[in-house]
């Protein structure tokens, strides 16, 4: 593989390896996401895709290797800090806050910006600006000070604007659990966007969708990339989705990167075909 400079990447995984006991789930991952791109991470079941996500978002600390984001070494930081720094995600099995309304789901995603002091310190240390709507002291919320009321109002305004952009505003007072499946997926992406990320990680967004829903989702993902100015990293096993929208694709098999390139490059790669169709022909 050609040599890579981590400075060219928004997110870079430098020789990241993740072991669970004897199992090597991710094996020496050396690649990253370039600013503004729509990158696909694909591979058969059990190839280690979700593990890569969990390493990036801080759920796991890699066994070896470092993770860089906007030039900051974020290896081993807590998930909530990483979100504050600008990486947001969705989950393979949708994880909405089902007893909250659509609007509240989005509002919750803004909450970190008023409470996450540790992460703010980390940002300032690296010469970035703090983010958010100001700080929040619980006393202000109890006494409902003008400052606090303004804060709530600002958050509400922004949340509603976001919901309008993703065409969910009319459902804002519905419980998240009452939405149909496709809409729940959309809300989960909207919620991830509400954390104000630079990079958004989508874990199999098309899972469980029918072809029309999938088509719509593909358009939606391309649209939010441009409209919200975010970089997108996408896991998918539905090759059609990835082939349709991703500019660059990384193929993972047994934890190793086996191919990288555009859709057509990847599709004609014999290693990829073998990984997906099985190794029968190869041995016989």
């Amino acid at each position: 593989m050609e040599s890579k400079r981590k400075e060219d990447y928004l997110l870079f995984l430098e020789h990241v390896t993740m072991r669970f006991g004897g199992l090597v789930a991710v094996d020496d991952f050396y690649n990253g996401v370039r600013p503004g791109e729509l990158l696909g991470l694909i591979g058969p079941n059990g190839a280690g895709k979700t593990t890569v996500f969990n390493v990036i978002t801080g759920i796991y600390t890699p066994t070896s290797g470092r993770v860089y984001f906007r030039g900051m070494d974020i290896t081993g930081l807590k998930p909530h800090v990483i979100t504050h720094l600008g990486i947001s995600r969705t989950f393979q099995n949708i994880r909405l806050f089902y007893n909250l309304t659509v609007l509240e789901n989005v509002l919750v995603a803004q909450h970190h910006s008023i409470t996450n002091k540790d992460a703010d310190k980390f940002l300032e240390k690296h010469g970035f600006e703090k983010k958010g709507f100001g700080s929040m002291w619980l006393g202000k919320a109890i006494l409902k000070t003008p400052g606090y009321m303004k804060l709530e109002k600002d958050m509400l305004k922004e949340a509603e604007e976001l919901l309008e952009k993703v065409e969910l505003l009319e459902y804002k007072n519905e419980l998240a659990s009452s939405l149909p499946y496709g809409m729940q997926r959309k809300l989960e992406i909207a919620r991830a966007l509400a954390t104000d990320p630079q990079l958004i990680l989508l874990d199999e967004p098309a899972a469980g969708m029918n072809p029309q829903e999938t088509e719509e989702l593909m358009r939606f993902i391309t649209r939010i990339r441009d409209e919200f100015n975010v970089t997108v990293l996408l896991i998918e096993h539905d090759m059609k989705v990835v082939m349709g929208i991703c500019e660059r694709i990384i193929v993972l098999d047994y934890g190793k990167i086996i191919a990288e390139g555009t859709a057509s490059e990847v599709q004609s790669n014999p290693k990829v075909i073998e990984a997906y169709l099985g190794e029968w022909e190869h041995v016989s």
């Binding site: 947001s88 909405l96 109890i142 409902k144």
Partner: protein, 356 residues
């Protein structure tokens, strides 16, 4: 379609309700007999405890079984502050009360505040290690802590007066103090629940992993909720001690039984609802008085039915199990009774009247 009232209308309605409540409480305090007034006071005291308990168990979704421990801390703290030095000297027969507790005496309000602060401090000390646990392990660890507190109360003769307990406390918890504190508790807990902080807590309840992924420092939020809940449990303890006028370390007074009673209240009322917690507390206080008839002797016509002592708790526990099995949302579910809901409810009633 849901209709909403204007915010200003709601403010007036709320102020009106408060005024009406004050008036009603005033009338009650003048006209009702002491027995009925005692029940009213009990409702408010249970209300404070249940609301603070549901803040943890219902809203933050942490299943704690240690609430009685915080109540105990509050009760003892406040009792030690309101008793006069002379009274203390007379009560502590086996070992004298340690300095400076033997000479301090404060007013009831200060004592109650101190009770809350002390309980909050303990909540922090207990929460810090145990909130790393989840689910049933958290339940059992908090239960363990509350039992430790109770056993300490039983053994620290020179602080708590051991098994003898503290007797003859001034009966400060009148209607105004109890309902006043219930008001404060509800205002504070409600404001928090409906703030950005409260939303974060509810998000944690629904899915802690997703909440963490949304940038919420889950542990810190849970710990804050735990401490706030501990504060009001302590306040409840202070009120409780000065309602009973006695406090001792029996399981039924400040031990596991009390936690179970509180659990019954918030489960019946609807786990996760503040209004539900108050309704649950009121039901528990009223029913446990009203159900006394099943324990006393009854005369129906010619027959005399002998009551069975303890029957009340059998009924409560059955009610509790049945709630869990067939009606898990309880009276309020996770909903609150709001002006908007009442308004819509009345709107829905009206056309029916026209038809009839």
């Amino acid at each position: 379609m849901e209709r909403r009232l204007k915010t200003s209308t709601k403010v007036y309605l709320t102020l009106g309700l408060i005024a009406l409540s004050i008036l009603l409480l005033y009338v009650a305090s003048k006209t009702l007999d002491t027995y009925a007034i005692r029940i009213l006071r009990l409702i408010a005291v249970f209300g404070v405890m249940a609301v603070s308990y549901t803040f943890i168990n219902g809203i933050t979704g942490l299943f704690s079984l240690g609430h009685a421990g915080f109540v105990a801390i509050g009760a003892y703290t406040s009792a030690l502050l309101t008793m006069s030095p002379m009274q203390k000297e007379m009560s502590y027969i086996l070992e004298p009360l340690i300095w400076p507790l033997n000479v301090i005496q404060t007013d009831f309000f200060t004592a109650t505040l101190a009770a809350g602060v002390m309980a909050a401090l303990f909540a922090f000390l207990i929460g810090y290690p145990s909130l790393r646990l989840t689910g049933d392990y958290l339940a059992i660890a908090t239960l363990g802590f509350s039992e430790i507190i109770r056993i300490m109360a039983l053994n620290m003769q020179s602080v708590t007066n051991g098994a003898l307990g503290l007797k003859g406390l001034p009966e400060y918890s009148n209607i105004w103090w109890t309902w006043g504190w219930l008001f404060i508790t509800v205002v504070v807990i409600t404001s928090l629940t409906y703030s950005s902080f409260g939303r974060a807590l509810k998000a944690i309840r629904d899915d802690a992993i997703a909440a963490e992924a949304m940038g919420i420092n889950v542990f810190k939020h849970q710990l804050m909720a735990f401490v706030i809940s501990g504060f009001f449990a302590g306040v409840g303890g202070s009120l409780y001690a000065h309602l009973l006028t006695t406090i001792d370390p029996r399981p039924t007074t400040i031990g596991v039984m009390l936690t179970f009673y509180l659990l019954i209240m918030i489960v019946l009322g609807g786990l996760g609802s503040i209004t539900g917690a108050i309704i649950g507390a009121a039901l528990f206080a009223i029913l446990s008085e009203w159900l006394r008839f099943v324990e006393g002797t009854m005369h129906i016509g010619k027959w005399t039915i002998h009551g069975i002592p303890g029957m009340r708790m059998v009924i409560f526990s059955l009610l509790f199990i049945i709630t869990m099995l067939v009606w898990r949302r309880g009276i309020m579910g996770m909903e609150e009774l709001t002006w908007d809901k009442l308004y819509n409810w009345i709107l829905r009633l009206r056309p029916r009247r026209k038809e009839g």
